[in-house]
């Protein structure tokens, strides 16, 4: 090879590989998986627990890497994702694919060896579900993509629970259901003020496929189903009074925001960045789209608060014992 050929060689930085893991999603996965693991209440060695959480986090990161490897061209069309390593051309999609596959194998294997094969099997299912079922099959085919695909993001607390006990009882699936039902109002609220991006990328998100009005109604309906499920752990013994207070008060606010969004005209006009032709921050939106942004932002806070309440109560009970 001559010096003239040299630019063909990679200048990919380690940070690009790290970005493939979707660190922000990963932090949510760590949090929810850790909650599942702690709330399960099993007597587990802290080091085993830490390695299990690491494996779940790396597995989730691997799924993110596979997603970016398969979606580089689509990501390049959207403001929110155009800076990703594959979309921006800093990393070849093939390299991202190999990276994702290797991390998937290592994380699943290590989780199985470290805890049990039920947890490892669930982690493998999550990765395949997200990378193959959601990314390749659902995302471009149906406006229900995020509803069905949301299950991938809901698995971590179940995996954490299974890692601690070797089992996945109904309480673990209740945590799954909370995240599963939280995903549509959360994602569609964001989609309401990013419609232009999704349309450009050819992704049939609900506001693109069915319009803003129908999306706002569906957000309200999902919120009405989601909030009682979010409160349920407080009534079934999984959570205590703190959880009940947090889920109840937060739930009321969630419903109020969803109701306000339903009454609004969010998503009826093109989003601000498109209208003014510049890069927009995630929270910089048109005045009429603010109800959508408010629900999107609060939904993250609410989910965090729910799981934090479970964790706090469990640690408090450890302290009391």
């Amino acid at each position: 090879m001559t010096q003239a050929d040299a630019p063909a060689l990679s200048t990919t930085q380690p940070e690009d590989f790290f970005q493939l893991l979707k660190p922000r999603v990963m932090s949510l996965v760590i949090f929810t998986a850790a909650t599942g693991l702690v709330v399960a209440g099993a007597d587990i060695n802290p080091l085993v627990a830490a390695i299990a959480i690491l494996c779940i986090a790396v597995g989730a990161g691997a799924a993110g890497a596979l997603n970016m490897a398969l979606e580089g061209e689509t990501d390049a069309l959207m403001r929110r994702t155009r800076g990703r390593p594959v979309a921006a051309g800093r990393l070849k999609s093939n390299d991202a694919l190999i990276f994702g596959v290797v991390l998937s194998i290592f994380s699943v294997m290590l989780l199985g060896m470290n805890t049990n094969w039920t947890a490892a099997g669930l982690l493998l299912l999550t990765i395949v579900y997200y990378a193959v079922f959601y990314t390749l099959m659902l995302k471009r085919r149906t406006p229900q993509n995020i509803v069905i695909g949301g299950a991938a993001g809901a698995f971590p607390p179940v995996i954490g629970w299974a890692a601690a006990t070797g089992d996945a009882p109904w309480q673990a699936w209740l945590l799954f259901l909370i995240i599963f039902l939280w995903t549509p109002p959360h994602s569609w609220a964001l989609a309401l003020y990013s419609t232009g991006d999704y349309a450009k990328a050819g992704i049939p998100m609900m506001p693109v496929a069915r319009g803003a009005k129908s999306t706002r109604l569906q957000i309200l309906i999902y919120s009405l189903v989601f909030v009682p499920v979010a409160i349920a752990p407080g009534l079934t013994g999984l959570g205590g009074p703190v959880y009940l207070a947090v889920s109840g008060l937060g739930g009321l606010l969630f419903l109020a925001l969803a109701f306000r969004l339903w009454r609004s005209r969010a998503g009826d006009q093109p989003d601000k960045a498109e209208a003014v032709g510049r890069e927009a921050a995630l929270y910089d939106v048109r005045a009429e789209a603010k109800p959508a942004r408010n629900l999107f932002a609060f939904s993250i806070l609410y989910l965090m608060a729910l799981f934090a309440a479970l964790l706090v109560e469990r640690f408090a009970s450890f302290g009391a014992a």
Partner: protein, 58 residues
């Protein structure tokens, strides 16, 4: 034929190599810890069940 790298390519390759090495070392440590913890819990289980930890050798 020799391969010539630009300074950027060289730096990027060195940094990637360093992180691959660190990743491998981390993985080895994790495998070691997992093996150790597994053996420890298996021994504790046997002890609790009053099963001899090892057969006496003749």
């Amino acid at each position: 034929m020799p391969t010539y790298l630009t300074p950027e390519q060289l730096t990027a390759r060195n940094r990637r190599s360093l992180w691959i090495a660190l990743g491998l070392v981390g993985f080895i440590v994790l495998i070691f810890l997992t093996t150790f913890l597994r053996m420890q819990s298996n021994l504790a289980e046997r002890k609790a069940m009053n099963v001899p930890v090892a057969e006496a050798t003749r």
